[in-house]
Amino acid sequence: MIKKGVLAAFLVSVAVTGGGAAAEGAIFVQSTTSTANSGLYDHLLPAFSERTGITVNVVAVGTGQAIKNAANCDGDVLLVHAKGAEEAFVAQGGGVERTDLMYNDFVIVGPDGDPAGVAGLSDAGTALTRIASSGALFASRGDDSGTHKKEIGLWAEAGVDPVAASGGWYRETGSGMGATLNAGIGMGAYVMTDRATWISFGNKQDYTVKVEGDPALFNQYGVILVSPDKCANVDAEAGQAFIDWLVSDAGQEAIASYSVEGQQLFFPNAPGHD
């Protein structure tokens, strides 16, 4: 009976609303949150859409979920920041080719009091070791996102297993960057965030960047066309046009020209533009 109810709901909804399906010449981008939350797409997309007439619909979720959604064929283009996972996605036939697009860096932000004494450090490993040994709170994404994967890698390099302290000083929020920042700031915890999200974040309170400048904190974004061979619904022409534009001179300049409070958020580095 319940199954029938669900089916009826489907059928009636489709009948009443005349079905869905987005307009012609529209693509879906499965994206990491930082590029959307920082306002980059609001800056880039009007220029692209005006030139090509292609509407770009952005679904902003964590990198892990974005890759899963793309693997389910629920998108035409994937724009995320976890090179290893991106290459695996392409190797498994989910995507056509992975291209470097732009970069920025991760920073560790903390409260004024700086309970672990990490302010001014430029070595991420030392900073994390100090946070762990001081027992100061650290809020982690814990959501398999690009930032989370990066953070796990840094802990491993520092030789600390923070998950053993999960629920203690190590707090896994299991949510997006903004939600984790809100939670971390609420509890006085250190948080690792990408710089773009941090600069455009509106609820900083007494938090500032404490650790930055380590080459290990490099944050590379890549862009991939979802494989039209695997997913027949992919609009390869429009999707490729979007990628071509992003890595073109015009697209790369548009990325470079985006700034918040006078600070550039993303640095273009597509092949041939370094």
């Binding site: 009976m1 319940i2 109810g5 669900v6 009826a8 709901a9 489907f10 009636v12 909804s13 489709v14 009443v16 609303t17 079905g19 869905g20 399906a21 987005a22 879906f28 949150t33 939350n37 609001d42 619909n57 952005v58 679904v59 902003a60 959604n69 693997a71 389910n72 064929c73 629920d74 997006g176 960057m177 903004g178 939600a179 920042l181 809100n182 455009s200 974040f201 509106g202 609820n203 900083k204 997913c231 619904n233």
Partner: protein
């Protein structure tokens, strides 16, 4: 707590400025949730009335299941609908994921059990009152159900409002199946979640205030309709 003052100011500014984006988001919220409420009523009211009047083996189990489904978590509904509508899912060929239709489907599934369970209670109470009379008039079961639904229409309006309230306030389901896409599937609750994640707390709160005002408006409208209708009915 200065956020509240700032939020109220912002909310007034948003409404007074007739912000085009806000109008679009409010319009989609109303379209999605009102349509879902309508469909949920088309399914839930007859189902509730039948459950109230009919006697069949397994009826109690049905009642327990329908009542339990009132507690369906929106995020679970979202996930189930996503798995069906995803291109990799059984209904993927329809291309409905990330459309308002997908959001309507999810909210319909979420609130149809609420409408069914609450209307079952309303109709059953009425039925106890009228059972004798129906028997003396030799009404068929279908006629009895129709008469009961009509007689309980004012109480059932509140049932529909409970469903609408649940639909317009939920974020878990529409976030997953709609994707919170700007100018396509962004509604009030997903916009509030987005502004919260951007750390723009006063703006998020201002949108929350606007949402409450809209809910007030819808409830006020239904209430005045009911007053007018009651006056005519008993004039």
């Amino acid at each position: 707590m200065h956020e509240f003052g700032e939020a109220i100011g912002l909310a007034f500014g948003l409404v007074a400025g007739f912000d085009a984006d806000l109008v679009e988001i409010v319009g989609l919220s109303l379209y999605v949730s009102l349509t879902a409420t309508l469909i949920a009523c088309l399914i839930g009211l007859p189902l509730g009335a039948i459950l109230a009047v009919a006697r069949f083996p397994g009826r109690n189990a049905c009642l327990i299941v329908v009542n339990a489904l009132m507690g369906l978590p929106p995020v679970v509904v979202g996930l189930i609908v996503y798995l069906h509508l995803s291109r990799a899912g059984p209904l993927g060929f329809l291309g409905l994921l990330y459309t308002p239709t997908a959001m309507i489907i999810a909210q319909t599934i979420l609130i149809a059990p609420i409408v069914a369970a609450l209307s079952r209670q309303v109709v059953e109470d009425l039925h106890t009152e009228y059972a004798e009379q129906f028997r003396s008039l030799c009404l068929s079961r279908t006629e009895a159900v129709q008469a009961l639904l009509w007689d309980g229409r004012f109480a059932l309006m509140t049932v529909a409002l409970a469903g609408f309230g649940r639909a317009v306030a939920e974020v878990g389901a529409v976030m997953i199946v709609g994707g919170n896409i700007d100018h396509l599937t962004r509604v009030m609750t997903t916009a509030i979640a987005l502004e919260t994640s951007r750390g723009e707390l006063p703006l998020a709160l201002a949108l929350g205030i606007v949402l409450m005002v809209i809910a007030l408006g819808v409830n006020g409208l239904v209430h005045s309709l009911r007053m007018t209708a009651t006056r005519f009915a008993y004039a």
